[in-house]
Symmetry: C2
Subunit: 204 residues, 2 copies
DNA sequence: CGAATTCCTGACCTTTCGGTCAGTATTACA
DNA sequence: TGTAATACTGACCGAAAGGTCAGGAATTCG
């Protein structure tokens, strides 16, 4: 941490203005509001308050913006699974709960990027590659569920694959309504998802 | 049932070819594969095997195709709630389970239309109107959950609004992977969702 | 046969798309 | 002051978008 990590002004040389990171952030927000394909570079320019051509000073292409956002989401989600897999101390059930909690944390902390990822349809090479990486993540999650079932911790009258789909379908559905300034933080959401999915809604 | 209900050839007058219903079905399938905005009328023409202008013989606009699909989903989902609300015999809990089961049935029976609906972002008047109708449905579902909690059937340490989001987030996530010729039918899916959401994953 | 009906083609229109480029404006530093 | 560095404008480009239209092709009915 020798370099500045806090929001230091970081005195740059030439004419002040936007930096790449800000353009990327605003772009992804707009993509999530309107959809990637429905958002033109003209729309983004209007959102940023300058002309379309100025965007290309900061960023090489629309596709590049998409790729950066998708990679942010995928890198962080992969890291959650790396951590869960590395932790060989606890049970598979505990590692699964850790993966759920971690996924929700990433979803909240990187909400725009994860939202973007979950809406990708596979148009173009960038989206295809993102889908490939996402499929790997989904498979690893399914393996965790499978291990927890084999361990005897989870019900075994449902296909582990199906359980995994339902569980992480619930997790991923958070992007549809969670807002950064909303009522719930990552911990509350993780607790709620765990309560519903693991213990059930019915009062005992 | 005096009129033909089965796949009767239905002898039409002029030159044979596509009918509106088929064009609509293929269009919605393509919209779901590529995304509505990323699908051009040229793409759809290629998919159908004729030229772009031929589409406009069957259908007035791209927007019209979208609206038809969204209405199909919304009408059927609304009907599920109408039935649940009309049934004043059972408990709120039973009506909620009925709503979950009915929603999943509609989701499976009208998978393309429901998928289309769940991806709408609100671009243009047609999408805005669909979002309005969908919000009403979501509110009615939340009221059902609220009633079941008030009744004492469901856990009361979570906000009913939050419960509703998680429960139907799980239901709606089915469109991401369920396929018409897949491993599970509507009944199996409804049973699985109910098992996970109401009774929980943990083995007892 | 001819007429009515339905389906589809191909050329064309306007608008918008992602992107390029030459030049200008605004700043920090020497 | 001047020079290097960075940020932006505005005119423009080829391609693709949604949509129109006049006419031709295939069928049923009388």
């Amino acid at each position: 941490m020798t370099t500045d990590s806090a929001p230091a002004p970081a005195p740059r040389r030439g004419r002040p203005g936007y930096d790449q990171a800000t353009v990327l952030r605003r772009a992804i927000d707009l993509f999530n509001r309107q959809g990637y394909d429905a958002t033109s570079m003209g729309d983004l320019a209007a959102e940023l308050g300058f002309t379309k051509s100025a965007i290309y000073h900061h960023v090489p292409s629309k596709t590049h913006l998409l790729k950066e956002g998708l990679d942010e989401a995928l890198d962080n989600l992969s890291a959650v699974l790396d951590r869960a897999d590395a932790d060989r101390s606890g049970s598979a059930y505990e590692r699964l709960r850790e993966a759920v909690r971690g996924s929700i944390e990433v979803l909240v902390d990187h909400l725009p990027a994860v939202t973007l990822l979950l809406r990708v349809r596979g148009n173009g090479e960038v989206e295809q590659e993102a889908l490939r990486r996402r499929r790997i993540i989904d498979d690893r999650l399914a393996e965790l569920v499978q291990a927890a079932v084999a361990e005897g911790a989870l019900i075994d009258d449902l296909d582990p694959y199906l359980i995994s789909r339902l569980l992480f379908g619930m997790v991923n559905s958070l992007v549809e309504w969670v807002r950064p300034d909303g009522r719930y933080d990552a911990r509350q959401l993780a607790d709620a998802v765990a309560a519903v999915a693991f213990d059930g809604l019915v009062r005992r």
